[in-house]
Every structure is written in C-alpha cells, then in structure tokens.
C-alpha cells in the first residue's frame, strides 16, 4: 500500500491519541469519515458509481456482457472484478506499481462475493448451461486517502445497485447458438438485488486498540488490520488479515464483534443514501465529473 513518510514523533502522537480514544481529525475510534456517493455517473456503463471517502476517490463502472456459465454452475452468472490503480492517486502506482494492490483488492472482493448467500448470481442466468450475463466490475482508484477496501466495496455495491441489465424477452436455441430477443425500450431492464451484497469493514490495529476507517497516516502506524466482509443481514462472508502484526485470539473475537455492528450500520447508511438518491428520479442533479 502506498506508504506515507511519517516521523517517529508523528507516529507516537497518533498511537497515543488512539489509546486515549482521540484521532487526529477529531473522530472517535469507531467513527467513519464523511462519505459522498453518486450513481449513474458513466453513461456508457450499465451501472456506475463514484464514492468519495475524505481523500479516497473511487469510480466503479459495471459492464454487462453475454457469456457461457461455468459447467459446474450452469444456473449462475459470472462476476469479475478488476481494479485499476490510477497513477493520479499516488506516484507509486506509476507503471505497474499499482498492480499488486489492485490484485489484492480484486481478490478480496471476489472472495467476499463468492459465497452463495451473498449476491445472487442466479439472477444473471439467461439460459441454464448456455448463456448468462457476466458482470465486469471495473474499479478505478483515483485518489488514495486510506481505507481503500471499505471505500471500494461500498462503491461496488452502489454501482451494482445502479446496474441495469437489458431485459431478455425471449431466448431460444438456434442450432448450437443462442438467439436472444431483447426489449427495445432502454428503460425496460432488470435491476439487481444488492441487499445481500457485502461491504468490507477494515479494523486497523493501532497499539492495543482498533480503529475503523483509518487514514493513510494511521495505516502507516498500524501493525495489522482485519477486513470483514459483511452483508445487510449481518452475515460475515469473509475475513482476512492484512499487514504483518499478529492478533490475540480474544482480540480477534472482540474485533469481529465490533466489525459486525459497524458493518451493519455502514450497510444501512449506504442503502439509505442510495434510496434517497433514487427518489430524486430522473431530474436529479449531476455532480459527476464525466457528465
């Protein structure tokens, strides 16, 4: 991850602050920074969202394409994540610099979405065993301000919420190939149910305590983090650890409990925001930079 140079004194300051329950930007340990989310920012994509979490800036586009399902899962569609770390975010991403981080994030998302109890892939099936939709989720990291996992997962969920899959009116086999009839009305399309899509919550261990939504500086002070993928139904779909430090089993259990409650509220907040945006209807004002 993009490292920030911090002096020893600065690190101690952050460490002591966390110990006392205060953070440099005035938050408590379990507070998030303010977030902005906007959907439908890329008109060419089937679904898109832009999420800004303080200085972290994420743009997600969802592309739908037709593919053949995996033979072992004939009734399911496919989903694929791709993370592009823009060199705009930090000079360290230049060239192939961001590749490792990108792969780490996309893998973590893939694991989080893998469980059959999260995002429902059967809705993406067109003809069992023959054709399904494949969602290409392209994530662009425009700016790095810490807590990439959380920000990316929230942006992905928002983009999926916004995604409109073309409605297939009829599908039948013609010879070996599938012949699809699509609705000609661009508004006539299927929405995806994202209520089970997981959000990632990063709990960053600084000293003996954990903080959520670490800034880039705090991440530098951390010995390790636990990332929990959690759905709106409080279901944990994956847990993994990043960084070099170790966790005492009891700490880990405590962390998971904290993460669960936090994850729930994050999910709820995102949902509320998305619904509010949707209620503005087609007349909503565009803030996105691409329109």
């Amino acid at each position: 991850m993009a490292e920030i140079l911090l002096s020893e004194a600065e690190k101690t300051f952050i460490l002591h602050g966390v110990e006392e329950g205060f953070r440099c930007d005035g938050r408590m340990r379990l507070d998030y920074r303010p977030m902005e989310v906007e959907t439908d920012v890329v008109s060419h994509a089937s679904g898109s969202a832009r999420l800004r979490l303080a200085n972290t800036d994420i743009l997600v586009g969802v592309k739908t394409e037709i593919d053949t399902p995996y033979p072992e899962r004939p009734r399911e569609g496919k989903i694929e994540f791709f993370v592009d770390c823009s060199a705009n975010a930090t000079p360290a991403f230049e060239g192939r610099g961001g590749e490792e981080l990108g792969t780490e994030i996309s893998n973590s998302l893939a694991t989080a979405y893998q469980s059959s109890q999260t995002f429902d892939l059967t809705a993406l099936c067109i003809l069992p065993g023959q054709q399904c939709w494949k969602l290409y989720i392209d994530i662009l990291i425009l700016e790095c301000g810490g807590n990439l996992f959380d920000a990316v997962s929230l942006a992905v969920k928002a983009a999926l919420h916004n995604t409109r899959v073309p409605k297939v009116k009829g599908a039948c086999l013609d010879g070996g190939t599938v012949d699809l009839q699509l609705s000609d009305d661009p508004y006539d399309c299927c929405r995806l149910d994202v209520s089970d899509a997981p959000c990632l919550v990063t709990l960053c261990k600084i000293g003996d305590h954990c903080v959520v939504d670490p800034t880039a500086e705090e991440e530098t002070c951390s010995s390790g983090s636990v990332v929990i993928a959690i759905t709106e139904k409080s279901l944990v779909t994956s847990v993994f650890k990043t960084g070099v430090g170790s966790f005492h089993p009891q700490t880990l259990i405590d962390i998971l409990k904290v993460g669960q409650t936090i994850g729930l509220s994050v999910n709820k907040a995102l949902r509320a925001a998305l619904l509010e945006e949707e209620q503005q209807g087609r007349k909503k004002e565009c803030f996105g930079f691409l329109k």
Binding site: P166, L173, G175, V178
Partner: protein, 978 residues
Amino acid sequence: MWTTKTFLKKRKGSVLKIVREHYLRDDIWCGSDICTICAHQNEELVLEKNPQPKNKKFPFPHYIVLDTCVVLNQINVLEEDALCNVIVVQTVLEEVKHRSSSVYKRLLDIVGNPNRKFYVFVNEHHKDTYVEREPGEKVNDRNDRAIRVSVAWYESHLMSSQADRRKRDRVKVILLTDDVDSKQKAENEGLHVATISDYVRNVEDCPGLEDRLSQHNTTYELQAGGREPLFPAHFTPSQIHQGIKSGKLLQGSFLASRENFLEGQVNVEGQDKMILVQGRVGLNRAVDGDIVAVKLLPEEEWSVPSHMVLQDEGDDSDVLEEENAILKSKDERVAKLPTGHIVGIIRRKWRQYCGILQKNPIEGSVRHIFVPAERKVPKVRIETQQADILSSQRIIVTIDSWPRNSRYPLGHFVRALGTIGDKDTENEVLLLEHDVPHSKFSEAVLSCLPKLPWVITEKDVQSRVDLRHVDICSVDPPGCTDIDDALHCKELENGNYDVGVHIADVSHFIRPGTAIDKEAALRATTVYLVDKRIDMVPELLSSNLCSLRGNEERFAFSCIWELTSEAEIVSTRFCKSIIRSRQAMTYEEAQIKIDDLTQNDTLSKSLRGLNSLAKILKKRRIENGALVLASPEIRFQVDSETQDPIEVEAKKLRETNSMVEEFMLLANIYVAIKILEDFPECAMLRRHPKLPVSNFEPFIKAGRNLGFEINSESGKALALSLDNAVRPDNAYFNTMLRILATRCMMQAVYFASGMVQRDEFFHYGLAAPVYTHFTSPIRRYADVIVHRLLAVSIGADVTYPDLLDKRKSHSLCHNLNYRNRMAQYAGRASVALHTHLFFRGKVQDEQGYVLCVRKNALQILIPKYGLEGTLYVSPHKGAKQNVTFVYSEEKQTQKCGDVIFRPFDPVTVQLSLDRSNVQHEKIVLKLVHPQIPGFSVPSLSSVKRKESDENLQEEMEISEVSVSPPIEKISTKKQKVK
C-alpha cells in the same frame, strides 16, 4: 446544446449499450413565409404566406402535418396535387424510411417538387421540439408525441408572427392522423386534428381524390428488435445427433433448385428418391451444398415440385406471396415426393460467391444486397461504403451468418474482380464460381520441367521401342496444340491390320510426388473455355514436349493391336515408344484425305484402313447396347483481335471424329482390362452407373404423350427405342429426345477398383464391362495414373506406395470427379457467356423447339446456338397480359386459344439481349410463330419490309412495338408495400 440517446444493440452475440450524443440546435427554421422570427434564407421559405383554404371542414388557412401511418397508407393520395403546404416532420420521415423504402422514395419525390410545398422540419434536432422517451413508453407513442409537440410548437410559433392578422386569416396547423389514441390526445391538447379520410372527403374541387384513399388501414407497430423471426430455430447439434441416431431425422446434402429459389432437394445417402423441401420454413436458411438434417413430413403432407420458374426479385419489405402460391398449388393427382423440413445445419459449405451489388435505393445507405451469379445461392446482405464503385463491378462476397430474423444471410465484401460485362472479368467469375484453380504455375512446379533444348538420349532409345519408322499421324480439331493421341494402321502380309494408338507419355515428365505432380492432381483436368484454356500442366509440356506434333520425335505410350479385316482382335501389346508423327491433321483434312481417292500415299491408306475398321467397331458397339446420346454443342468463331464472338455454328461431326473416337475407346477398354487384371484392388477405372428407372419417369411420360413408348429397362432397349422414335414431320425430334435422355443420365465417374463391387464396374453409356481413361494424359490426371499403372504392369516403370493404396486412390478419384464436373459446368457457362456477348445489339428470329412445358413458361431449345431459354407465358404480378394460357399438367401442354404448345413442337422465337439492367443481362425470348395476337411479336423480316416502305415516324412506332412486348413487362421489378 446536447443530450444523449441510449439504446441497446446486439452485435456478434453480445449486447452493447450504445450512447450517442444528440445535438439540439436553435437555428432550425420553420420554413413558413409568415414567420418573422426565423432567419430564413429565401429558398427555405417553402410554406406559403396565405395558403388557400380548400377544405369544407377547415375553412381557414392552414398547414398540414402528417402522421407516419398516413404517409405509409395514403401515399397515393399524397401524390395527388391536391394537398399542398404540408409539414413533414423528421420523425415521420425516419420512420417511413425504416418501414418501407419504396414509400420513402415516393415521399422524397413529393418533397422535391417545389410546387407541392412540402417542408421537412427537423424536429428531432430542434431544441424546443425534441422529446425524450419516457420510461415505459413505446417507440410509437414517443414518436406520436414528438409529432404532436411539433404541431403545438408550430401553432404557437406561427401565432406569434401573425398577431396583427385578423383572427380568421391566421394560419393554423392541422394534424392528420388515423391513430385513435393520438387523435384523442391531440384533441385534449387543443390541437386541430382530423383523420385523413375526414380531411380528404372535405377537400373542395378535387373530385376523385377520395377514391384514391386506401382502405387498407394497417395498424403499424414499429419494433426495432421485436419482429417475429422469419425462420424457425435450428436444432442443437446434440438434438440433431440423437435425431439421426434414432432415425427421426435424416442427414443429407441440400441442393437448391436453380429455377425456384423457394425449393430444393435433400440428397440423403442410401435413399433413391431425393427429399423435397419447399418454402422458406422448409428450407430454413440452408444454402446450396450444406449438409443438413431433415425431418420427413407425414405422408399426407407430401408435395410435388412446383412447375414454377421463380426468381427472387422482391425487395426486403416484400412478403413472400409466391411462397403461398407454391404451397397452394398442390395437385392431388400427381405422385407425391417425400417432403420434409430442414431442421438443422450439420455443416455449412459456405464459400466465397461471385456476383453483383444491387444498390440500396436509398442514397447514402451502407446496407446493400448482393446478388450472386449462381442462381442457387440466395442473395446476401452486405454493408459497404463504396457501393457507387462496386455497383458496376463483379464482386466476391462471403457469407458470415444467417440470423433467424433476416430474410437474407449476412456477409461481407471480399474483393472486386472488375467491370461487369468485361470479358476477362466474366471469365474470372466463371472460373471462381466453378472452383477452377487457375493461378499461374508456381516456381516449384516450373522447376520440375525438363531443361530446354530437350534431346532424346541414347539411354531413352534403348529403353523404348523405336517406332519412328512407322507412318503415324494425329487427327484433332483445328487449332489444337495439346495433341495427346496419334494413330497408325498398316496392312500386314497375312491380310490382318497392325493398328496402333500412341498416347503422349506424360508420366515420363511428371514423376510421382513432385510439385508438378501434386499440382496436376489438384487441377485434375484442363478446362476449356471458349476463348481460353486453363492447363493442367505447364504449357511447355502440354503444347510442346508432350504434344505429338507433326515431324517431331516424341515419347509415346503405345497400344498396338493386330486386327483382322473384320475388326476381330488377334493380339494386343503395350509399350513405351519413340514416335515421329508424319502429320498433325484436322478432322477436315483427314476427311478430305480419306475421301479423295486420288491420294494413295501411306497416310491416306492407313486412314482409310482405320476408317473402315472404326465403322465395324462402332456398329458392333451399338449392337451391344451402347447409347448414342446428344447434347447441343456449338462453336464460336471469334474475332481474332477483340476475341469477341462474331459467328456461332453448331459443331459438325465428321466420320473422322467417330474414327478417332472409336480407337480411343478401344484403347481405353483394353488398358482397363489390362490394369484391372494386374491391379484388382487399385486400378483406376471409370464407370457409368445404370440409373434407377424412376429417373426416367418424366422422360418416358413425355415420350408417351407423343405416342412413343420408351423402354429404359436396359441400355440396349433404350437405344433401340430411341432409334425408333422418329417423327417425319420433325427432323430434330429424335435429337431432342436424345438430349433429354442424356439429361436423365447419371454422370460417369472415376473409381478405384478396390472400393466398388465388381458388378458395378459397368459403363452403361458405352456398354463396356470395364472402362478407363488412358488416351488424354495431357489434359486429364486420371490418365496419368492409368499410364503409371500400365507402365508398372508392363515392367517399364517402378511403382510407388500411393499408387497401390486404394484409399488414397479413392480420395483422388473424388477430387477428379469433382473437378471434372466443375470443368464441364465452367465450359458450358463460358458458352453461355459468349452467347450473351454474341447477342449484344442483335435481334434475331430463330427456329426453336419446346423442350418442356412449365406451369408459367415454356423451355425453348434453339439448336443453332445450343441455347435453352425460358419463354414466360403468364405475366408476373402487376403486369397485364391480354391473352391467357391454360396449363395442363397431365398432358404437359400450354394452350392459348387454338394454339397448343406440346413438348418438341417447333416454334419461331425472337432472341434479343435485355440490357436494361446493366448488372444482369439476360437473353429474352419472344414468340414469333405460331402467332398469338396480343402475345407474339411480328417477325423481323416483316418488320424490315415495312421499314423500307414507310416513313420514319412509323418506323419508330414499329421499333417501339418490338421493344416492349409483354415479356418486358414480366421482367420488371415488383414494387410492393406491405
């Protein structure tokens, strides 16, 4: 200012979301002379300042706005001059373009007429009149709304310019629509609205306008992707596989009909009758040659081939009414054929097709129709930007796919061959179309040729029999440079004859496995076009080293018999030899030498000896049941410089032709016996299968109608009954019968002896138990193989593994048969091409014969040109014809008044080339005699006589008469709107 339009598009199995920028402008003017707001140029002021109110219902000055379905349904009314000052909004224009190209063109014509005062208002790009589609709104509803918005805009826009006018002088805008919903909505919005019939009925001083109202009120629904697919879906490969396994489906190759694009047959292996497939659904996107899976229909739904000659001329919006016509016209009395539907394609045999581009009538469109030269192949839809250039060229196109909702397959342009009508281009087309390899020989091939000067070495002389002292001569057609056979005949002391057939020793130069051998095996045969020869082997061999030219020492493979004067064979021997032909003669020269009894040199004597022996051999052969068949063959005399044909003549057959033929047959038969004896498993032979009696049925029926019983039980019986079928009143009758018999025959094919049962070796046409090809190795690859086999068998050469592998021989035979067939077709196509060239600018009356009678046409054979043409007797749709013909399927006749046309009847027809469509020239036949008033045309001679008598004006009338007989009308393109 801009907004975006979003729509979905399917492309190559995927769905794309496409977003286009859509620009809105504030400088689109209303086009009205009243307007004081818009910054018009003068020529843009289309709509009048004070339009005359001529309508009882709307007694105030007004402009009219049309709805799409009004334009589509009532284009006839619009074409009348009564309606003026009309605003055509772009929405309507686009929709009309999409729905019907012909109506679109007519509408554009009206708009282009300045007197009509039609103004096209680009509402879709006007900032005030552009409407976006609402969620859940249909395209139609959105378009109707767009039209209403435009009407409302005009109303308010014009109002602001004529505030100073008196109220009843103010120009209003009236929307004409037949859509009830839209009308209601417009009324609610406070617009003036009327149905077209309402409006037209109240138009003053224009009687008759109302009559032009179309009652055909189509409720139209514009659906971009939702149109019902034209074709049923194909089965999946696994379904087909199971179907074939369980016997529910049959596998076979699909053969499209040349005459009717909605009919074809499926040749299923192991079934003697082909399966008939009819109609669009039955054919289900099969293209000629495809391997298909076919499902047989229950017997009560079986059908008969229609006797219609049907060409696909309709444009895209055309409903296939012909299809119904075919399916309805089932005749209960005639024996029905197994009929099926094609349900799946097992393997596509798509290749590249030659043809021409039929330009989209809409200017600037990139989607065009490609019309292949081969009539069995459907038209192909392609996209190209360079239609203007390509429309005058022969082009090559390949098919990519045939989706269910497309009437024609989709393809793409590959390359252009050259200008249409250009002889080189046309030659190229027919070579490509018949898959004839005609590129130059490669360096590798040429490097296999012997070095010049080529000399006969001492070693060669030792290994060969020296026949240079024998008086050998060759007899060939004039201008022949690839002489591959020569003959000699010498009277022996015991009264017998020593007769030799000497064939060019091509296998000496073409060694197995070399590049030249592979190339020759691929080409398989030399292809003869009228003005061109595509050699199987490079010219150095074909016209020089192998060619048995006069007075040059050449290698030969000789077959020498001792024959008694009764042509009984005493002994046969084969040897490789060196010969020196004394003279290379033409058939005519040889004939003169034989006939001129004053010539008594050895050559003349030997020719006479050969001739007399040949006569005996021929007689014996015919007694054995060999068939004498006929096919009309002609020669062109070509201009030496332009190579354009200047005269046509039927090929003359002389005694000498038959003489050479007889000895070649004899050599072939004896070689066949010899190689079969030595190589029972891998001899390359030629067989002519006896065909099932069923194939002869139509032919026998035709004979019976004329009172001749044709017996096709055996070759001999057939030959006999053909001989007896002579009509004194019709000298050409017998020949025609033989032509028809030839068409019933199957083609003779090469085969490897190990792959076919012994009793199937028979050559039916020649009545020979075994037969092969030995005598033309320069132009046929089969002969080269036979030479090699024979050389091995007499110990003159060594063998090699491929020669003795019957499977390899089998696949080689396959190629040889295919190439031979194609070469034959290419030759015929070349003759047809030259016939066309010959008839350019010519009109001729010719004697012809009715070859067969079709439901809507007569097939006429013109022996002089070997030409077969179609004389349509019933008009195409839309054309009027005063006389009607009655078709009797039972008797095979067409009757018109007192005149009855039966097969084989002589007729006189006028031939001319229809060049009205530059892309597709065709020879047109018109009836001259027997005369049918209103149908036949006056003969040329009578026209000429009149011309000389009468003055110029009348002459023009006459020429008009001869230019536009009914047939012209028949061939005009249909213009039809759904």
